[in-house]
């Protein structure tokens, strides 16, 4: 779309894009043309309001998280690039095998193991060596957050805890294990029994809360 030159003049004047001579000529035109002057005033006012209400810098919500997510994505991309190049090399090796041309069909099975080898964090940091999520649909990722000085194990695909469920927390200070029956008694701040942990026939933990505990 072509804009008439007089409109170009108006915004060039407004945006300070005119040289001194052009500016002088346009100012004379403004003095002589009230409609043009009104238009120019309105545009100038709009421009001032825009600048006042559109800051050039804004605080980023959850700024720390913003930064750490960038670091995570960079680390993940580099990991997958490395994995990609390794995979490519192994496929090329197949092509180099004698007699490869006689193979008519190659069936590739990709087994995705839940074991991840992770980028090496600083030596004083905790390290996740391997992970395995038995439930289908649950994914695990892990990384070291230098900002938080923490190692993060992130689980996704988990079922939400129902909103009406009351999560009861304990404050446990020490434990005693009864070796004969393989049960552990957990004690609270005042030395009271809070919980007993034992195993059922399927070797699954059974947690029994004391009647006077918050549970």
């Amino acid at each position: 779309m072509k804009t008439p030159p007089e409109d170009h003049d108006l915004i060039r004047w407004l945006d300070g894009e005119m040289n001194a001579a052009e500016r002088e000529r346009f100012t004379s035109r403004l003095d002589a043309d009230p409609a043009l002057k009104a238009e120019a005033d309105l545009m100038q006012r709009l421009s001032t309001d825009l600048r006042a209400n559109l800051p050039a810098e804004m605080p980023v919500p959850f700024g720390d998280f913003f930064n750490s997510q960038i670091q995570v994505r960079i680390a993940q991309e580099e990991l997958s690039e490395n994995a990609g190049s390794t995979k490519q090399a192994s496929w090329l090796d197949w092509f180099r095998l004698p007699g490869f041309a006689t193979i008519s069909t190659v069936v590739a099975a990709v087994i995705v193991a839940g074991v991840m080898i992770l980028q090496q964090p600083p030596t004083a940091a905790s390290v996740v060596l391997s992970t395995y999520a038995p439930s289908q649909g649950v994914q695990v990722s892990s990384y070291h957050s230098t900002d938080a000085h923490a190692t993060v194990l992130m689980l996704t695909g988990l079922e939400d805890v129902p909103a009406d469920r009351k999560i009861v927390g304990y404050h446990i200070e020490r434990s005693e294990t009864d070796q004969a029956v393989a049960a552990t008694t957990l004690y609270g701040e005042r030395g009271e029994v809070v919980l007993v942990v034992a195993k059922d026939a399927r070797n699954q933990p059974r947690l029994l809360a004391a009647a006077n505990s918050r549970g």
Binding site: F65, N67, S68, A124, A125, S126, V127, V128, L129, S130, T131, Y132, A133, V138, V140, S145, A148, H149, A150, T151, V152, L153, M154, L155, L158, E159, D160, V161, A163, I167, V168, G169, Y170, H171, I172, R174, S175, T177, D178, Q179, A180, A182, A183, T185, L186, E192, V193, L195, V196, V197, A198, K199, D200, A201, R202, N203, P205, L207, L208, G215
Partner: protein, 166 residues
């Protein structure tokens, strides 16, 4: 206290014996006669990350050396508030399982594999939700470097398990 333990253990026996169709329990490992040696102490907490202030009215506070825990969690998770729902200070027994149970809903089984090279302790962890293992992991836990486990969503936020070698 002793009577409660007896009742609890009796209940355990019942639970173990009721389902006739379940396989027989695995052979019990010979247990040490003395109190197991420990490879360290861990502090575990269940944290509710939320954008609403005082949504559970929990009064639990982290230990003094972890006063900056909410700030550190804020660098990983995108929530405004971090409330400790429960906490548990636990010896990590050598060659014997330990439990870190800040809540009955989400808890951790910890097996020590001994001290790690370069400091810390080698652990096998199982993160449980009720009767289900959510994740099993081998990790080296070092003091001053917490492990944050991003767990399930709850209400307007998320449940996070924190494990720290003290």
């Amino acid at each position: 206290m002793k009577s409660l333990l007896s009742i609890a253990l009796f209940s355990m026996t019942l639970i173990a014996s009721v389902p006739a169709q379940t396989p027989a329990p695995p052979p019990t490992q010979p247990l040490p006669v003395v109190k197991p040696a420990t490879d360290g102490k861990v502090w575990g907490a269940l944290v509710f990350a939320t954008n609403e202030e005082t949504s559970t009215h929990s009064t639990e506070k982290p230990p003094a050396n972890l006063a900056d825990l909410p700030k550190r969690l804020g660098k990983v998770f995108a929530y405004k508030h971090y409330e400790i729902l429960g906490q548990h200070l636990q010896d990590v027994f050598r060659e014997y399982e330990s439990w870190v149970v800040p809540s009955k809903d989400l808890f951790l089984k910890v097996d020590s594999k001994g001290p790690a090279e370069g400091g810390g302790v080698n652990l096998h962890l199982q993160f449980w939700r009720d009767q289900q293992v959510l994740v099993k992991t081998d990790a080296v836990l070092r003091s001053g470097s917490p492990l944050f486990i991003g767990g399930p969503k709850w209400r307007d936020g998320q449940l996070i398990f924190v494990l720290v070698l003290q």
